[in-house]
Amino acid sequence: MHAYANPARFLKIARPLTHWFGWIGGLLLLLCVGWGVFAGPADYLQGETVRIMYIHVPAAWLGMAGWSGIAIASAMQLIWRHPLAGIAARACALPGAVFAALCLATGSIWGRPTWGTWWEWDGRLTSMLVLFFLYLAYMALASAEQEADGEAGGEGRMTAIFGLVGAINLPIIHYSVLWWRTLHQGQSISLMKGSSIDGSMLWPLLGAAVGASLLFGAVVLMRMRAELARTKLEMRMRRLAAS
């Protein structure tokens, strides 16, 4: 990991990976969502609305994975002062916020015909909404701190601390269905207990989750490359102005 903290070495790997992740992820996501929506069966309880799961579940996973990425990169930034860690953390914020928003929106659309309501202030939904607001606050803080630093890619220690502290919400989201009475269903897929979802729905769901994860990775790489380029540009401009 430390070896790739060097921007030049990182870019050498990130350039081809951006294309591979983007194309494979995008195609896999489209294929598996198409498989689930058009060829998958309806659920015996939920009916046709179960087809929303192929975007809702990957969006929920990636909304949480995005903040996990922010927290890990923030820890690396604070402990080892890796030059790329802060950039990686900030690059996770927008795609993470988008997936969290999609999770909330598609969940709400699913809830209307299934629960009879668009929204319910229960543990899972509320903690996911808190995650979305945390993303917005993180992006605002990162932008304000960068402006205050006066250069792209500033240290951003406050942002990194906020990224770490915000990770407290992740176990709350995960265990909310166990800790509180909730309309939201419990965990259907577990590493220890396996899956309670039938294979005809599970495989397109896992495929869509892998595709969306690769797409998420591609977006993070693109945003990191953009911020690195902007930093490089600013440094060159300053050097030119000084000479």
Binding site: T18, G22, G26, V33, V37, G47, E48, T49, R51, I52, I55, H56, A59, L94, P95, V98, A101, L102, A105, T106, I109, W110, R112, P113, L215, A218, V219, M222, R223, R225, A226, E227, A229, R230, K232, L233, R236, M237, L240
Partner: protein, 44 residues
């Protein structure tokens, strides 16, 4: 309301939003990298 209307609404919202985040990130990256290349060419 037909259940399919809700399914269509979910994807009609998700697909453009995902496309926007991918395209916007790609355009921002290309623009920034192009500006660096142009500056490099201009100063060399």
């Amino acid at each position: 309301m037909n259940q399919w209307h809700f399914v269509i609404a979910a994807y009609a919202l998700s697909i453009p939003v995902l496309a926007w985040v991918v395209i916007a990130s790609f355009v921002a990256m290309r623009r920034a990298e192009k500006a660096v290349d142009e500056l490099k060419r201009g100063t060399s």
